[in-house]
């Protein structure tokens, strides 16, 4: 698939801008702070309904604009054209239209455009917190099958509900101190009764955590199993070395059970087995959870261990290796989606080339040459490998929120 047109209004630094794109490579050139990344951020938003840079929508609306930002994207897939229009209204539900007809749920836009975006922030995939790697997996799940967006949202809610419950009930299990003077109980209720009642409610949310958590865990495990060969291959090509890159799932399941062992060994147990294992693990940390008032088991506590050769990447790999590994993760996602969908997602390389040495730059240029559409941003043309600036490539200059076409490939802006 490819984007043939991208229009934005009151988005980030742009009052209004229109860009005609097409298959092949498009390069956006401009000095820092001129608004190159804003354009690819808009494309990413259409694909994922979230920005890769900020968690809230408010910064996406141009300062001084009248409350909302608009993105219009024309997507071509197999000769079929779809128009996605999004109105981003911070603090309220966004409005979405597909081919001019309004959608009741914004979520229904997911799947029309699929992008794989690599940006400098992605270094956190290797060096950052486990949350970054969980989000990588979950975002890829949704890009693969949009229905996972609902499961993911449900699971977040279960964790928040269960966390609130643990916090509220924490006082029941604490030893009374002089300051708190013991737990608060309903009139006529003994401590044992209070604890039994709290446990009965907690058990209900244990069940939900296990059911929905197992669905998410199962999906992540299958995804990682499918992703690993692509990761290994991408890293080998980018780094041009014999080093083997791998990713292993680190679950928060209580160690020792056959299911936890299987997960650690990279196998994918049945969903029902996973649900049972989560329940058992919850039971094993019951006292800790009650004392600390926090949900300690489930996919929200899991991690992905990235390794180069026999060593974990985090803490051992050099800066350059971390870059290559982060890039390889995104490229692996790209190849997995290409294999699944039977069409290429749009590949976005945001300010990537400046960070790579010349060998890696050239190999990356080789790798992306056969992609249906690649959007590249760079501060100066010298950073971009020459073959990506050749004939038929669209080059745009971005200066202070205005976009001008530099080369003639039928583009006008």
């Amino acid at each position: 698939m490819h984007l043939s047109h991208l229009g934005i209004a009151d988005f980030r630094s742009y009052p209004a801008a229109e860009v005609d794109l097409g298959p092949g490579v498009s390069v956006l050139l401009g000095r820092n702070g001129q608004g190159k990344t804003n354009l690819v951020e808009a494309a990413g938003y259409v694909a994922t309904l979230a920005s890769h840079r900020v968690a809230q929508d408010a910064p996406l609306v141009r300062a001084g604009a009248d409350g909302s930002a608009i993105i219009r994207a024309t997507v071509h897939r197999d000769g079929h054209e779809s128009l996605v229009e999004l109105e981003i209204v911070p603090g309220r539900a966004n409005r979405a239209r597909l081919n001019r007809s309004p959608l009741t749920r914004q979520r229904d836009v997911l799947g029309t455009l699929r992008t794989v975006l690599f940006a400098p922030e992605d270094l956190a995939l290797v060096k950052g917190d486990p949350g970054e790697r969980r989000r990588f997996l979950d975002d890829l799940l949704v890009a693969r099958q949009p229905r996972w967006a609902a499961v993911r949202a449900d699971y977040d809610k279960v964790v928040r509900q269960r966390g609130a419950l643990l916090k509220q009930a924490a006082h029941l299990w604490r030893a009374p101190t002089r300051r708190t003077g013991g737990p608060r109980l309903a009139p006529g209720e003994s401590l044992e009764e209070g604890r039994a009642a709290a446990l009965a409610t907690l058990t209900v949310f244990d069940d939900q955590l296990a059911q929905i958590g197992a669905a998410l865990l199962y999906a992540r495990l299958r995804l990682l199993r499918d992703l690993r060969p692509y990761l290994e291959q991408a890293y080998r090509t980018i780094s041009d070395s014999g080093t083997h890159a791998d990713a292993a799932y680190r679950s928060s399941l209580a160690p020792g059970s056959p299911v936890a062992e299987a997960v650690a060994a990279g196998q994918v147990p049945e969903q029902a087995e996973l649900a049972a294992a989560i329940l058992e693990s919850v039971e094993a940390v019951r006292t800790q959870e009650q004392e600390r008032g926090v949900c300690l088991v489930g996919p929200h506590r899991d991690d992905v261990l990235l390794a180069l050769g026999d060593l974990p990447a985090k803490g051992y790999a050099s800066h350059g290796e971390c870059w290559s590994l982060a890039l390889s993760l995104r490229l692996a996602g790209f190849h997995l989606l290409r294999h699944d969908l039977g069409t290429d997602p749009v590949l976005v390389l945001d300010d990537v080339f400046a960070e790579l040495d010349s060998g890696r730059r050239e190999r990356l240029a080789d790798l992306v040459a056969d992609c249906e559409q690649v959007l590249v941003t760079a501060a100066v043309a010298a950073d971009v490998p020459e073959r990506l600036l050749g004939d038929g490539v669209r080059v745009f200059e971005v200066t202070l929120g205005s976009i001008t076409s530099r080369s003639g490939a039928g583009a006008s802006a």
Binding site: R147, A150, D154, Q161, L165, A186, A197, A200, T201, T203
Partner: protein
């Protein structure tokens, strides 16, 4: 800002659910121009809900007496209780005319974030209604969302030890008269789970 009473009215109307400041202003000025009779009727209705409306002491539904009309109706089957979250759900099920048993209104669903636990719902009253052994089935009709499902699971566990009381849950599935292609994945998935056999093939 308007003067005195007009602004007070706008503020009061603006507190109602689903009414924003603009809507409240529109309603206030509509009322200013309305017939005095209409205003009196509205004011009386408002006063009366405070005075007359009570909650049924058996099921918790809105009522005008100690018991609601459904609990007083002898023709209703006392062996079946349908458990719902709120009074509006009773009205919705009544419109179907399918259910001839009685109701129990919980007054919400378990929602720890909102500070609602089972002790804040009319759960104890439900259990008390099972004491005389007349009830044979409890149908749980809480909303099919996370909180509603949690409440249903809680009740199912709580009622499991009661002999002779069956506990059922409303089915989830496809809307009647709808198109399969427009159903969302979760609903369609549930509909698959809860599918019904319409032919089992020749036996033997």
């Amino acid at each position: 800002m308007y003067e005195g009473v007009v602004q007070d009215l706008i503020d009061e109307l603006g507190r109602l659910p689903g009414v924003g400041p603009k809507g409240a202003q529109r309603m206030a000025f509509h009322l200013l121009a309305a017939d005095p009779e209409d205003i009196t009727r509205l004011a009386e209705a408002l006063l009366q809900i405070r005075e007359k409306v009570r909650f049924c002491e058996v099921c918790g539904n809105v009522a005008e007496a100690e018991r609601c009309r459904i609990c007083l109706d002898d023709r209703r089957d006392p062996s079946m209780i349908c458990v719902v979250e709120q009074s509006q759900d009773v009205a919705a099920i009544e419109r179907t005319r399918e259910f001839r048993g009685r109701y129990h209104v919980l007054g919400g669903a378990i929602n720890p974030i909102g500070g609602v636990g089972p002790e804040d719902l009319r759960v104890r009253e439900l259990v008390a209604r099972l004491a005389d052994g007349e009830v044979a089935e409890v149908i749980i009709a809480t909303d099919p969302n996370l909180e509603g499902e949690a409440t249903a699971t809680y009740l199912a566990r709580l009622l499991a030890p009661y002999d002779g009381v069956r506990v059922s849950r409303l089915a989830s599935g496809l809307p009647v008269g709808g198109d399969l292609e427009y159903a969302d994945e979760v609903t369609l998935g549930r509909a698959f789970e809860g599918r019904r056999m319409i032919s089992t093939g020749p036996t033997g």
